[in-house]
């Protein structure tokens, strides 16, 4: 049954959600004391009566929970209380003196001086490309005071007054009230009332005439002042005082923006005619009567006529404005700060154009008649002379490239003439027979070059422009100008005009299709040599923009080259060294073989070097040569016995010198002044050191033999793990005495890792040999 009942009902709408028992909404609205209007800091906004708010003070009432609390007053014998002058601010909240408060303490310039901007705005900087205040905005600022207002103010006018001569009370008020009655001095003058502007606006809406719809302006733009005296409207001697708004708006009603609006009784009309308007109307009437009387009294009326009651319509006459006596019709132009500087007046500018070449000549103090004559002569010449003379411009003649040889210069000038005719070969005829055929040819070439190079500007320009068919300054601009015939057409244009299509109109050029294009079109790429070259160039171009940190390492190129060099030379070297070693082991004296190896070495270089690498080789080998020279010098000081041996040793070292890095020291070596250590050495030692230096890694072993303390340190790298220990603190070496420097400098030497590895194999054999060598050497030296 119940189900059927349910079915009978028709449900409309969405059922309400069942009420959650736990979250029953509070039936009671917020109590008044719970409603707190807060300011931006979350503090209570209204308290105290100063803001004049609707909800003010404690619980919207004046006072505090404890009531009004007086300021503390303490005074004791030790400490007398100061007399404190109370200021209104003491009774105000902080916010009262803030932006929205009633007593702002901040000093602000008046709008006349602040340029219409608030202080805050003024220092706002633009985010645009030019920092600071926008320049254009400053320039284009609308003036706050018009020029007319400025002028009026100079005449003594003040804003709010009407314009015109000062009036007495009687004149102003229409003589209704005696000023003396009011206790005013009758001689006091009053400014006239401002004339209400009457401007006719074009009608743009479809409202009825005189109807204005509700204004769209927001409420807050309406004028209001907080401290205006309560509005009083006197009506029939009965004072009507209305203050404030008819309907108050609570602070909790967010939507209403109109909280400061104030009903102004002046907006309300209480009758159709106000007292003022009535007075005005009465005055006008009286004046009219007076005027009419004045008109009619003067003339006696003829019988049958009566004086006119109304004044006929008279056409208004406006006299032309009187010019002030000191009026100057010449307008002095105001100079724009940005405009070009105007020098002199208009006439001067005009004069500039009037001046022609002869006038200028006079100004410049040139001899005029001569000039004129010259011109005439020139004209005659050009008219009478042949082609050769015609094209000779003064520029061309003024340039004399072969002035040092007058005969040659003369020939050159004649040659120019020939060129103009087109007889380029005629030069041969004027060349003296004393000249050899070779000289003649050379001169011809020189002339050709000179003629090409030193063509005057006009000549160069002639190439680019075709001569106009008519003179520019033809007397009648309106005469039709015939189509200028292009002087010479390109051959293909000519051919096309004559419909001789074919070879003349066809141009074939190389073109390289992109490889992907070929691929997609299923066509093998054309392998023209030029095409592939172009491709390579393109590929390179593409590669270049790839950013790499190493591009910025200035030495990277150098090292690269050196490495490649090494790769070429090292095998030779190893060969050589092995040879040398063999030789050494075989005999004591191996001069011939060594020489052979030396020549071998030279061959290698000569064989390898392409022209471009010459400089590099020089850079590498020149220094070593010098050093070896020094070496030799040092050795000459030594015994002659040694010479052969040292030479034998020297050669392979110099070859190893290829590996030496000639680039300036970098990184931790940058601060090391190796050169400073060098010159102090004795010549003998220099030789020795050089050798050591040149030897690079090899010398390490030599040194080891010298210093027993360090001899133990090198361990086979296979037996060690972890990062290699630094051999010695490097910066200390700078202070080491030069006896030590021998070893230190050798250690400072850096060797390319790759090369050292490469050498490893041969070194193992070498080490022992070397040791033997040096030992021998030492013995000999001693």
């Amino acid at each position: 049954m119940s189900e059927s009942e349910d079915e009978d009902f028709a449900f409309y709408g969405v059922p309400l959600e069942p009420i959650d028992e736990d979250n029953v909404p509070r039936k009671k609205p917020f109590a008044i004391q719970d409603q707190i209007a807060t300011d931006k800091q979350g503090r209570r906004r209204f308290h105290g009566a100063f803001t004049g708010g609707f909800s003010a003070g404690f619980y919207n009432s004046v006072g505090t929970l404890e009531g009004w609390k007086p300021s503390q007053f303490k005074s004791s014998r030790e400490k007398k209380a100061d007399v404190v002058a109370q200021r209104p601010e003491d009774f105000m909240d902080d916010e009262d003196t803030e932006e929205f408060g009633i007593a702002p303490t901040l000093l602000r310039a008046k709008p006349e001086y602040s340029g219409g901007k608030s202080n805050k705005r003024r220092f706002e900087l633009s985010d645009g490309p030019i920092p600071g205040e926008p320049v254009l905005k400053n320039i284009l600022e609308p003036p706050s005071v018009t020029i007319g207002m400025k002028l009026l103010m100079k005449l003594g006018w003040k804003p709010g007054q009407g314009v015109g001569p000062m009036l007495t009370w009687a004149e102003k008020m229409g003589g209704d009230i005696d000023p003396e009655e009011l206790g005013l001095n009758p001689n006091v003058l009053f400014p006239p009332d401002p004339i209400q502007e009457h401007c006719i606006n074009a009608k743009s809406d479809r409202f009825g005439l005189g109807y204005f719809g509700l204004s769209k302006e927001p409420v807050l733009t309406e004028r209001f002042s907080l401290f205006d005296a309560p509005l009083k409207v006197s009506e029939n001697k009965k004072k009507l005082s209305i203050r404030g708004q008819a309907f108050g708006v609570g602070a909790f009603e967010d939507d209403d923006e109109d909280i400061y609006a104030k009903d102004d009784m002046s907006r309300y009309d209480f009758s159709l005619e106000t007292s003022a308007s009535l007075k005005e109307a009465r005055r006008k009437e009286r004046q009219k009567e007076k005027e009419m009387l004045a008109l009619t009294e003067d003339y006696n009326c003829i019988e049958g006529f009566m004086p006119a009651k109304s004044q006929g319509h008279r056409k208004k006459y406006y006299p032309p404005p009187e010019l002030p006596p000191d009026f100057d019709p010449n307008i002095t132009q105001r100079k724009s700060r940005f405009g070009p500087e105007v020098v002199g007046n208009v006439q001067a500018v005009k004069g500039k154009h009037i001046i022609n070449s002869s006038d200028r000549a006079i100004i410049l103090g040139e001899t005029l008649p001569d000039h004129r004559k010259e011109c005439e002569i020139d004209l005659e010449e050009t008219q009478t002379d042949n082609k050769t003379e015609e094209n000779k411009s003064p520029d061309e003649l003024s340039f004399r490239p072969f002035i040092s040889d007058p005969a040659k210069q003369a020939r050159y000038e004649r040659y120019l003439g020939f060129i103009n005719i087109g007889a380029n070969d005629a030069l041969k005829n004027i060349q003296p027979s004393a000249m050899s055929e070779w000289e003649k040819q050379r001169e011809a070439k020189e002339f050709e070059q000179a003629a090409k190079l030193y063509r005057p500007l006009s000549g160069m320009m002639n190439d680019r422009f075709s001569r106009g068919g008519m003179l520019d300054d033809s007397a009648e601009p309106l005469t039709p100008v015939p189509n200028s015939q292009p002087v010479d057409l390109d051959p293909w244009v000519k051919a096309a005009k004559e419909k001789k299509f074919g070879k003349l109109t066809r141009f074939i050029a190389d073109w390289s299709p992109a490889s992907l294009l070929c691929k997609r079109m299923n066509i093998p790429e054309p392998n023209n040599s030029e095409v592939t070259l172009a491709k390579v160039a393109e590929a390179e171009k593409k590669r270049r923009p790839k950013f790499s940190v190493f591009d910025f390492l200035d030495t990277s190129k150098e090292t690269n080259v050196i490495e490649t060099e090494n790769s070429v030379i090292v095998p030779e070297e190893t060969k050589m060294e092995s040879k040398v070693i063999n030789n050494l082991s075989e005999k004591e004296n191996e001069k011939p073989k060594l020489i052979l190896s030396e020549s071998n070495y030279d061959n290698v270089i000569k064989f390898e070097d392409p022209q471009e690498k010459m400089d590099l080789f020089k850079a590498i080998f020149a220094s070593s040569d010098e050093e070896s020279d020094v070496e030799k010098e040092g050795e000459t000081g030594d015994s002659k016995n040694e010479k052969s041996n040292s030479k034998a040793l020297e050669k392979p070292t110099s070859s190893i010198n290829v590996l030496r890095n000639t680039s300036p020291p970098r990184g931790i070596f940058a601060n090391l002044d190796l050169d400073a250590l060098k010159p102090k050495k004795l010549p003998q030692e220099v030789g020795k050191e050089k050798k050591d230096k040149n030897d690079g890694i090899k010398t390490q072993n030599v040194n080891d033999t010298q210093n027993p303390s360090t001899a133990n340190t090198p361990v086979a790298p296979e037996l060690m793990y972890g990062p290699t220990l630094p051999t010695k603190p490097i910066f200390i070496q700078k202070t080491v005495a030069y006896e030590d420097s021998e070893s230190s400098s050798s250690e400072i030497e850096w060797v390319e890792k790759s090369t050292s590895k490469k050498k490893k194999h041969s070194k193992k054999h070498k080490k022992e040999k070397k040791k033997d060598k040096h030992k021998q050497k030492k013995k000999k030296k001693k």
Partner: protein
């Protein structure tokens, strides 16, 4: 050329800028000034699909070799590669700096070629995800007006009075100076001759030597870019004209054989001849007209379906 007027289709897409048959001539593609490309079956008077996505007038469109893509270029400087079925733009190529005046596929539709008023021809790879042209041909000194692609050549006509032939096989560029701005270039079916349209004149050039073989006059092109070409058997040279006619010349004799009158005195500026049978589709104002010797018979497959 005994073509009868078979059908008029109102495209309703503003002025029809170009009309093209698809690869087998069953459908045609019209590019309109209202920024759309439309696909039609002119033989059955069927409207199939609209492709909208261009930002401005579509100036040229063509169908791919398998009829599954459409390439179009327009005054919005973009070339759009459409999928026929879904009507979605697969890629929008925006590198040209001015109107794209002509577009073409290569034979396999793996590449797109677009000529533009910015004096360049750009070649786009449609297989890779590359939105930059793989090559730009910058030889022309004026707007490219038409482009033709053969097996191994790219032929372009330009307003700088030159016809350029880029031979990919030999890697050379052959430029022929015509003497008048080239408004249309076509190639004969045998691939041996250019048909070059200029103002009020059509030229027939030998491709290999560049010599003039014949000249066809008698029509007027006015200031319009009027297309010219040959019929599918190389017997006639065909061109549009400003007087509402399609002019047909005898290719050898050079005399006007017939005119196809559109009954309107407005320009017939675009046409395309059927690749396999005797049909011609022309564009005049907002309409496309189908011409042919007789109506196309329904294909047997379709009959079976029915």
């Amino acid at each position: 050329m005994d073509f009868k007027h078979l059908r008029t289709i109102d495209c309703k897409q503003g002025a029809v800028r170009k009309v093209r048959f698809n690869v087998d001539g069953v459908y045609c593609i019209s590019s309109g000034s209202d920024r759309t490309v439309k696909l039609w079956n002119p033989h059955k008077n069927l409207f199939l699909k609209t492709y909208s996505g261009h930002g401005n007038e579509v100036l040229d469109a063509c169908g791919s070799a398998d009829s599954s893509y459409i390439l179009s270029g327009g005054a919005d400087k973009s070339v759009i590669h459409w999928e026929v079925e879904t009507g979605k733009p697969l890629r929008r190529l925006r590198v040209h700096v001015s109107n794209v005046t002509c577009v073409k596929y290569n034979e396999e539709s793996t590449l797109a070629f677009s000529g533009s008023r910015d004096n360049t021809v750009m070649i786009w790879d449609l297989k890779s995800f590359n939105f930059q042209p793989i090559q730009v041909l910058k030889d022309a000194k004026d707007s490219i007006t038409s482009i033709q692609i053969t097996e191994s050549e790219i032929i372009t006509g330009s307003l700088d009075c030159k016809v350029r032939r880029y031979d990919i096989r030999s890697g050379c560029l052959t430029t022929d100076y015509i003497g008048e701005p080239v408004i249309s270039v076509n190639i004969t079916q045998d691939g041996q001759c250019y048909v070059v349209g200029s103002a009020n004149k059509i030229w027939l050039f030998d491709k290999s030597t560049g010599e003039l073989l014949n000249e066809y006059t008698g029509h007027e092109t006015g200031d319009y870019q009027v297309e010219c070409g040959v019929d599918r058997k190389d017997r006639h040279v065909i061109s549009g004209a400003v007087d509402g006619n399609i002019y047909c010349w005898d290719l050898i004799g050079g005399s006007i054989v017939s005119k196809l009158n559109h009954k309107k005195a407005t320009t017939v500026h675009s046409f395309d001849s059927h690749p396999t049978s005797d049909f011609l589709v022309t564009a005049i104002k907002e309409n496309i007209w189908l011409w042919g010797e007789e109506e196309m018979e329904d294909e047997p497959e379709e009959e079976e379906d029915n």
